[in-house]
C-alpha cells in the first residue's frame, strides 16, 4: 500500500477541479513546448536551436 499518501489526496478533488487544473496545465505546457520546439520566429528558433536538435524536434 505504498500509494496511501496519494490516494488520500487525489480523490478529494472534484471532477471539475481536475478538469480545470488539467486544462490550464495542458495549455501552459503546450505554449512552452510550441515556443521552444516548434515556433517559426527566428529569434525563438535561434535561441532554442541547440535544444531543438538535442531533443529531436524537427529543425531547419
Amino acid at each position: 500500500m505504498n500509494t496511501t499518501a496519494v490516494s488520500t489526496s487525489i480523490p478529494s478533488l472534484t471532477l471539475s477541479q481536475r478538469l480545470i487544473a488539467g486544462a490550464l496545465a495542458l495549455m501552459l505546457g503546450l505554449v512552452l513546448l510550441v515556443g521552444t520546439g516548434f515556433a517559426g520566429d527566428y529569434r525563438l528558433h535561434n535561441g532554442a536551436h541547440d535544444t531543438r536538435h538535442a531533443m529531436g524536434f524537427p529543425c531547419h
Binding site: 505504498n2 488520500t8 487544473a21 496545465a25 531533443m55 529531436g56 524536434f57 531547419h60
Partner: protein, 244 residues
C-alpha cells in the same frame, strides 16, 4: 490544486532541464558545433571557432547578415540552458495535465514508467520516422515534419494513456493500433542531396539524442513523482498541525 501541480511540474522540470543541459554539453552540442562547420556556404574558419577567447566583444561569426542569434560561447550556452528549462517545464506540465485529467497519479514508484512512456511518445516514436538530424543535413519541408512529429507523439501518447487507464484486451488492441498508425502514414522524406556531414558523426548524433531523451524523461518522471509524494504527505499532515 493547480498550485501543487504547478510546483511539482516546475521542480521536476528544473531537475530534468539541468540534467539534460549537462548531458547535452558533454555529448550533444559538440556534435552540433562540428556539424555546423559542414553547413553550406558560410563556413567559418576553424581557428577562430576553436578558440573561445573572444571576450573583447567582437562579433566573431554572424550567420545570417541580419538574423539575431546568440553568440557562440557563454551566451549560446545560456540560451540553450534556458530553452532546456522552458521545454522541460512544457513537458512536465503536459505530463501533469495528463495525470490530472485521466486520474493517473504520478508517484515515485511509477515515475520511471511515466518517464519511459514519455520517452516512447516524444523521442522514440517520432525518431522512427524522422531520425534526429544535425545542422547541415538535407531535410524535408519543416511544417510537414513538425505535423508528422506531433502526430506520432500524440498518437503514441494516447495509446499509452489508454493502455494504462483501461487495462483490458480491447484497450491494448486500440493502443497497438495507435502506436502503429503514424508509421503507416509515411513521414516526410528528406531530399537525396549530398551533405558534408560524415556518416559516423550522424550515427553518433542519433544515439546521443535518443540517450539524451531517455535520460531527460526518466529524470522528469522520477522527480515529478518524488515531489508529488512529498506534497501529498504534507497535505495529509497539515490538518493535524494547523488548519490552513
Amino acid at each position: 490544486m493547480f498550485r501543487n501541480l504547478f510546483v511539482a511540474a516546475v521542480l521536476a522540470a528544473l531537475c530534468a532541464g539541468l540534467v539534460t543541459s549537462a548531458f547535452q554539453a558533454w555529448r550533444v552540442t559538440p556534435l552540433i558545433f562540428a556539424a555546423e562547420s559542414f553547413e553550406g556556404g558560410e563556413a567559418h574558419s576553424h581557428g577562430d571557432d576553436a578558440a573561445h577567447s573572444h571576450e573583447a566583444g567582437t562579433p566573431v561569426h554572424s550567420h545570417g547578415d541580419d538574423e539575431w542569434m546568440p553568440q557562440d560561447g557563454f551566451e549560446r550556452t545560456a540560451y540553450t540552458v534556458l530553452a532546456n528549462l522552458l521545454m522541460a517545464a512544457g513537458y512536465a506540465l503536459v505530463l501533469g495535465a495528463v495525470s490530472v485529467l485521466f486520474n493517473l497519479p504520478i508517484t515515485f514508484n511509477n515515475g520511471l514508467l511515466w518517464g519511459l512512456g514519455a520517452f516512447a511518445a516524444f523521442s522514440l516514436a517520432p525518431a522512427l520516422g524522422l531520425p534526429p538530424g544535425m545542422p547541415g543535413m538535407p531535410v524535408a519541408d519543416t511544417l510537414a515534419r513538425q505535423l508528422w512529429w506531433a502526430g506520432a507523439a500524440v498518437s503514441t501518447g494516447a495509446a499509452l494513456v489508454i493502455a494504462a487507464k483501461f487495462r483490458a484486451g480491447w484497450a491494448l488492441a486500440v493502443a497497438a493500433a495507435l502506436i502503429i498508425l503514424p508509421h503507416l502514414i509515411a513521414a516526410p522524406v528528406a531530399p537525396d542531396e549530398p551533405t558534408g556531414v560524415p556518416p559516423r558523426m550522424t550515427a553518433e548524433f542519433v544515439s546521443a539524442v535518443l540517450f539524451n531523451g531517455a535520460l531527460f524523461f526518466t529524470v522528469l518522471g522520477l522527480a515529478f513523482g518524488w515531489v508529488n509524494d512529498r506534497l501529498a504527505a504534507r497535505s495529509v499532515a497539515i490538518p493535524e498541525g494547523a488548519p490552513a
